[in-house]
Symmetry: C2
């Protein structure tokens, strides 16, 4: 039986449909958005009911910061991107989640945000699996 | 003469043009975007050359988290908004800055992001000053 702060946590159905699991961090599940237009990772703190970052405890906030920045640094290293975009929006999916996206001058939404831009384009063949392995190796 | 980590810090010209100073926090200058479409605050860490959150020291990262979440909580309280959106993008303005925006179902960009959405609409008359005083009182 699950115990502790993450007891009863269930991933939002839309997050589950749009992204694939990558690995567990200390506080968050790290997932990858299945959208080949952008190298795009999502951290989901395992805290049931949390919608805003300030809803979680100060210790969890510090952990989330640490994990987000570790992921951002690794993603920038493996992609060689121009800029990392991080964001916690939640206007559509209310379950607290943090986006970490690698951006480049020639990407589909540059210099605008990725959120709400066009339609998701799933990876083809083994490309998603390869991207997952690359990120895992960098973490 | 300025000394220490923030010696030589100069605010980006576009941030200076689009926003007004609100108050000094420990690490960041808190500014308000002069856009009446959205209650929109910006934190600018006083660290010359920083572009990514992972560029600043772990202590600064923790401070930035603390200040961002304090500001987010206050902004949610005074606006009664549906959702806080936070983001660090920097695709256009590279100087590190963190957006904290109060979002509502009936706002101009809902449920999309505010960044890149239409044109900024400056506050009229004393409205910006009143908003600044409201946020100051809540912090």
């Amino acid at each position: 039986m699950l115990r502790g702060l993450n007891a009863g946590f269930a991933l939002d159905a839309r997050l589950e449909a749009d992204s694939e699991p990558l690995m567990w961090l200390g506080l968050c599940e790290l997932r990858v958005m299945n959208d080949r237009r952008f190298p795009w990772l999502i951290l989901v703190p395992q805290r049931p009911g949390a919608e805003e970052i300030h809803d979680i405890t100060p210790l969890d906030q510090a952990m989330l910061t640490f994990e987000t920045n570790m992921v951002a640094q690794a993603l920038k290293r493996v992609t060689g991107c121009t800029k990392i975009n991080t964001g916690a929006l939640g206007n559509i999916v209310r379950q607290l989640h943090v986006h970490v996206v690698a951006r480049n001058e020639n990407d589909a939404a540059w210099p605008g945000p990725v959120w709400g831009h066009g339609a998701r384009e799933p990876y083809a063949g083994e490309d998603l699996h390869r991207f997952i392995e690359t990120v895992k190796a960098a973490l």
